[in-house]
């Protein structure tokens, strides 16, 4: 199978999965739904419509034979990996530690050679944003190592 058909395939599997899950949803008694529709009907209708459109898209691919998308450089995949790192650091340490580490590493990953510039960006940005949200907008941030120290 050609690479270009991967997208329609994934979209089709997703649509079929949604239909399968929708069919498992509870049904409401007739007296509540009346002449309207069950909760499952609308998502199923949408996915059928989507499957038809995926069929048309596949036909367009067959006729036009588009070029496969070139693979991105390590910057993109590395950035996505940093999102995962941010998740882990936020869950296990603190959201602001996560932000600091990700900004610092992202700057380096994207080509910043001056370590002190990356460090300052990673320190000043979350600091300023924290002050703005905490003092001006009165937002309480999730507890973690740093926030426990701050909130007490």
């Amino acid at each position: 199978m050609k690479n270009i058909y991967l997208v329609p395939l994934i979209l089709s599997i997703f649509s079929l999965a949604v239909i399968a899950i929708a069919l498992q949803l509870d049904t409401s008694p007739e007296m509540i739904v009346g002449d309207s529709m069950q909760a499952r009907s609308f998502p199923i209708f949408l996915m059928i419509l989507k499957l038809i459109l995926i069929g048309i898209l596949s036909f367009q691919f067959y006729k036009n034979n588009p070029k496969p998308v070139a693979l991105e450089k390590y910057h993109t995949w590395g950035s996505m990996f940093l999102f995962l790192l941010f998740y882990l650091l936020t869950i296990h340490t603190d959201m602001f530690i996560g932000i600091f580490v990700v900004i610092f590493l992202m700057s380096i990953l994207w080509g910043e050679r001056r370590i002190w510039v990356a460090f300052l960006t990673a320190t000043i940005t979350p600091g300023l944003v924290f002050l703005l949200f905490d003092y001006v907008l009165k937002i309480r941030f999730p507890r973690g190592i740093l926030m426990n120290l701050y909130y007490g």
Binding site: V18, S28, M37, A39, P43, K50, M80, M95, L137
Partner: protein, 494 residues
């Protein structure tokens, strides 16, 4: 009504806090507009969480100001570095950059500033008059009409500039499906929640939009880290001469009309408007050969149209709750978050607020003109901020902004997940704007379909017996199948 509108608009000028806010936001909007990749939509998505604690009028004024000023500012980088700050300024590069290369960057910017201002102010005036009239028509709408109107709005997604028609519709349907996550409104049955009760009221727009527009853009920009930007030198912005005005006034007026009309169409926006404005300027010009080589008519045509679309796009957003573009989708969310329900109610019960918002847009247009004329050179330097500094900052603003909306970490994860989804969608030629518009319109479509079915005892075809509903559905059909039918007819004739 008229007096109330005038006094509400005038109140903007005598409110120093609001004026200061518009001034500061215009600076921010111009900075956002000149930074390649950021643009009005990403900027509005990032700023939305900051507006949560503001007064509703101030909050919407901030978002609307970002919209108009960033749309204009895209032209600064389009002219000076051949990189449109926003997609709406793409057509400006065709003639703006060649004129700048001839050593007339100041003249090109002057024409862009004046054309954008005229376009923006013209569309705000049209907005002031057209929106209440449309609201009166909308007063007659019931569920079948609203259902048909939202279907029409969704069908227009097919013609959004980026991505193909089929891909845009797939994106739109995905967005509508996202709106079904959570408890169903009528029966309370939980759909696609997988036991996660934070999703009971459905997906909230703010984190999803931050993900789709800001985080996905970050990943897209990661592909351009090696790009070297060169600027064209410029002494000062020059106002157009009398000779220039004689050459471009007709083009500006034509583009004002085109831009406003395109903006009013659901799901169309400044990008489409500027492209059509540019091509029409070329079609009507006596100097067609100059186009592509530094024609001032080309710059005026594109710039007047894209800023005229900003006011036009606010019409369906505020009157019908149907966003005219990605940025107006965010403004619509802003309206909802602040309890300003778009529609007839807004124009009958909260007229003052509506006209204050219009007044703010008017003031923002004047402010960006002054900034464009006197500080464009300075703002152009902002575009040289290294991507390795800028985008990590955007990451921080995105995650904290997503969290601040409800104080839930789930929203941060959703923003990141939708950022990755948005990136992969864009990687394969799907635009993210249809997903956002679909998400907003999804609830309207389903709820109005349910109400219509109840109205007609389950006989869905009765929707077609309602004249206005039928008209919208015919428009939707023509929007979807019209191009195919016309090309088939043309082939048959040939």
């Amino acid at each position: 009504m008229f007096e109330q509108a005038i006094s509400a608009m005038a109140s903007v000028v005598v409110d120093p806090y609001l004026l200061g806010l518009i001034f500061a936001t215009t600076i921010l909007g111009v900075i956002i507009g000149v930074l390649p990749g950021l643009g009005a939509t990403t900027g509005a998505a990032l700023l939305l969480p900051f507006t949560l604690t503001m007064d509703p009028v101030h909050a919407i004024a901030v978002l609307a100001t970002i919209y108009v000023s960033a749309t204009f500012a895209g032209s600064i980088t389009a002219i000076l570095i051949n990189t449109p700050g926003t997609s709406a300024a793409a057509a400006t590069t065709f003639d703006g950059y060649p004129l700048a290369q001839k050593g007339e960057a100041g003249r090109a910017l002057g024409i862009a500033v004046i054309s954008s201002t005229v376009g923006g102010i013209f569309s705000v005036l049209i907005l002031c008059f057209a929106a209440p009239l449309l609201a009166r028509v909308a007063y007659e709408f019931r569920s079948p009409e609203y259902f048909a109107l939202t279907v029409f709005g969704l069908s227009m997604l097919a013609s959004i500039s980026a991505g193909g028609a089929v891909k845009n519709l797939i994106g739109g349907i995905f967005g509508v499906w996202l709106s079904t996550i959570g408890a169903e409104r009528v029966t309370g049955i939980e759909r696609f929640m997988f036991g996660n009760y934070e999703l009971y009221e459905g997906l909230h727009f703010v984190p999803i939009f931050i993900g789709l527009f800001a985080i996905s853009e970050l990943l897209v920009q990661s592909k351009t880290v090696d790009k070297i930007i060169k600027t064209v030198s410029m002494k000062a912005v020059k106002l157009p001469t009398l000779e220039d005005y004689k050459k471009i006034w007709k083009t500006i007026l034509r583009s004002c009309g085109i831009g406003t009309f395109i903006g009013v169409l659901p799901a169309e926006g400044a990008t489409v408007a500027s492209m059509i404005g540019y091509s029409e300027a070329r079609r009507w010009s006596k100097n067609k050969k100059e186009f592509g080589k530094g024609s001032i008519e080309g710059i005026a045509g594109a710039e007047a149209a894209n800023n005229a679309a900003t006011g036009g796009a606010m019409v369906p957003t505020m009157v019908l709750g149907i966003p005219g573009s990605g940025t107006t989708a965010i403004i619509l969310v802003g309206l909802m978050v602040h309890g300003l329900r778009p529609g007839v109610y807004l124009f009958t019960e909260q007229v003052e607020k509506v006209y204050q918002i219009f007044g703010s847009m008017f003031v923002a247009n004047v402010m960006f003109m002054l900034m464009g004329l006197y500080a464009a050179k300075l703002f152009a330097r902002v575009s040289l901020v290294p991507t390795q500094i800028l985008w990590p900052i955007v990451f921080a603003l995105s995650v904290i902004g997503a969290y601040a909306f409800q104080g839930q970490l789930l929203d941060v994860w959703l923003a990141l997940i939708f950022g990755v989804i948005g990136f992969f969608a864009r990687r394969h030629g799907f635009s993210v704007a249809p997903i956002a518009v679909g998400l907003i319109l999804g609830e309207m479509v389903e709820t109005n379909l349910q109400h219509s079915l109840k109205m007609f005892d389950g006989a869905w075809w009765m929707i077609l017996t309602q004249p206005l509903a039928l008209m919208f559905l015919v428009f939707a059909f023509l929007g979807l199948c019209g191009p195919m039918i016309f090309s088939w007819i043309t082939k048959q004739k040939d």
